[in-house]
Structure formats: C-alpha cells, structure tokens
Symmetry: C5
Subunit: 96 residues, 5 copies
C-alpha cells in the first residue's frame, strides 16, 4: 500500500453510478515522514479520512476488496488512517 497525504476533494456530478455517494479524495503519495511526493491522484474513502490525514491507499484490483468498494470501478481506495510511523525505535511521523 502507499502512504499518502489527503490534500483535497473532488466534485463530479456526472460519474459512473457505482461511484455515486462515494467520497472521492485527492491524495498525494508521501514519504515515511508524511511529506508528499509525486503527483496527486483520486482515491475512494472508506475510513472517513480528512484533509491532512496520512492514509494507507491500496491500489489495483485490491482496491475493490473492501466491503464498501466491492465491484466498484476504483483502482485506489483509502483503507486506513496512520497514527504513527516508526523506524528503529524512532517515531518518524505522528498524527497531530
């Protein structure tokens, strides 16, 4: 899964009906300190994530393997909110 920072949200009136009612957030892949790297992309939220949260994003076919996204045309789904990251006993990120 990718570590990603939630940076915003999308509004799309015209969209596939199976995406109706789903929250589609803009995220950016992040490094192990929560700093965004790479281009923004859109992920379906399943854990009530908000802007500024560092989240876990699952991509590819596995993005359809949550109860909320089963059989939905999504290739990126937010499946967790990171509380903290640790490396060799040192905390490199903590949710504020």
């Amino acid at each position: 899964m990718k570590l990603a920072l939630v940076i915003g949200s999308t509004i799309a009136t015209i969209k596939d009906e199976k995406l109706s009612g789903r929250k589609l957030l803009i995220v950016r892949e992040s490094d192990d300190t929560g700093k965004p790297v790479g281009n923004p992309f859109v992920a379906v939220d399943t854990v009530s994530a908000g802007t500024g949260d560092l989240v876990l994003v699952v991509t590819g076919s596995s993005a359809r393997y949550t109860d909320i996204t089963r059989d939905i045309p999504t290739d990126a789904t937010i499946v967790g909110v990171i509380d903290s990251l640790e490396q060799s006993g040192k905390v490199t990120f903590r949710k504020s």
Copy 2:
C-alpha cells in the same frame, strides 16, 4: 483514479470487436489544477466526455467494472467528469 485531461480522439478501423462502437479518447494525466502532466494514453469513454474536460480515469482491471466496459479489453476507462477540485476550502479547478 487518475485526474486526466481529454485532449483528443482516435480512429482505429481494425480493432478488437469488443471495442467496436466504443469512443476511445486521448487523455493526459493532470495535476490538481487540471494542468496536464505525463504522456498521452487512450481511455474508453463511458460518460460522454469531450475535449477539454478534466475527467476521472480508472485503470487496471477495475477499468472493466462499469456496465459499459464489462469484459472488454480496456485498462483505462473514463468514469467521471470533474466539476471542481478543492483544497483546504480553496477551489483549485472549476469546469468552465
């Protein structure tokens, strides 16, 4: 999903029969202001998108999970047209 700008269309007389009658648009991945970045690729349109639209493109196996693209050999499908993008209360893109 990717944010992508529709930049053109393709004509291909010889193609897999399951792609017959499908609109195959040229898109470019875009940033969170709608500015294109990255190489052009081709996506099957399912939402009557047009040139200049910023769209949502789903890739991989999930590109087959719309009613229109079920079991079709597509790895990129347009599943929504972006009305607006917002970051921290600020609109970074609005459909014109």
Copy 3:
C-alpha cells in the same frame, strides 16, 4: 491503453506452451504524434499489426480479455491499429 509503435519481432523457441503460435512483437510507447518514447516491451499481436504501425496496446489483466489471448500469460496485447489521431480538429497522426 497505450499508443505504441511496432518496431520489431521476437523469436523464442522455448516458451510457455500457451504462447505457442502467437506473434510476439516489440513495441515502444509513443506520444500523440506517433513518436516513440520509453523502453521497448513485447506484446501479443491479435490484429495482424506490422512494423511501423501505431497500435493500441492493452496492459495488465485486460490483456487476457480478447478471444485470442483468453487465459494466456500475457500482460500486453495489441488490440487495434491506429488510423488517425485528432486534437481540436487537427490531425496529429495519420497512418501512411
């Protein structure tokens, strides 16, 4: 799908039996004028494409969703030959 230019062919006597008799072409991803960019890779041909053709290549699991490649170990399949590409009423590529 990727726009790709067919640049050559491969010969492989030892290969998975399900690939036997399949034409395995070397292609390079191309931009929207047909100019090759990126590294060469190999795709199964299903539309009798030839060297110099600009083609549509479907990747990932969807590469198995043509009648010819069903259940075959391929991650890249040529599914169309491009006649022309158009952007804002201007033709950017035409098959010669």
Copy 4:
C-alpha cells in the same frame, strides 16, 4: 517480485477490518546488494520479517494469493526473507 528492505512499522487504529491484526511494515525497494532505492511503501507481513531484513514483496492482485492475505485489500505482501543473492558465482548479499 521486488527485493525490498524492511525499514519500519506503521500503527493505524482506524483501518479496514480485514487488515486488523496484520503487521503492516514499511519497506523500500532495494537493489541486488540490498541497498534501498525508491520510495517507502507499506506491505503486509506473512513471514515474521523484521527491520533490516531484505525481503521478497509480491505486488498487485498476487499479493492476495497467500493463505494469510486471501481476499484482503492488500497490493503488497512480504512472501519471503532473503538469505543470500548470487551473481555469476559471487555473493552480492548475505543476511547478517
């Protein structure tokens, strides 16, 4: 599969229930001497790997093809711990 170095761990209280109880490690893709290259990402551990281990990470849908990760929303799973790597009779990495 990717060669990857385990560099840390994640804590996420809010996460998809199918990920509950799974160890989610931070890894970085590595070269053939075990030196990390590329961005960190998160993988589900199935082999009791620890920080500093060079591991095999399977990505995409195949990340769901272990007994532990069957039907779980994961796109990256640790499936082995590397003891050694060898090139032309020369050991380029050995687990310490």
Copy 5:
C-alpha cells in the same frame, strides 16, 4: 511482457509455501539489444532459464497464468527464452 536479462539467483529459506521449490531468479529489464536497464527484480522461472539469458517476463496477474505458477503469489514469471530480436530485417540480438 518485458525483455529482461537474467543476472543472478536468490536463496530464501523462509518463504510462502507455495513458492517452495520454485527457482526465483534476479532479472533486469533490458532494451531491444539485450542491454540491461532499470532496477533488478525477482521472477519465478518456468522455462529453465539461466544467467545471461535474455528472457520474456510476464508481470501482474498474468504471471499466475502458466501451469507452474497457477495460484502462486507471483507478480513476475519468466515465460520464454529469447533466441533473437529483429528490427526492419536487422537482427539486434542473438542468443550466444
């Protein structure tokens, strides 16, 4: 599929049981002359490939579509050994 050069092998005592007895080779993606480019990764061998061979590697879910790798957690499988590559009547690679 990728053109890739076999550069070495891996030893991993601790690994997913479905990978037991499989030869896991280190390969590097190569260009159309057999020259390696890009980072090393690990692929399951199904064609008795050896170091120095230029091979065809299928990635993603299709890596599970050989008789040997059915339902195995692999995302990269060697499915052929290249004898020669040809471009416009000119041989750009020949197995030595």
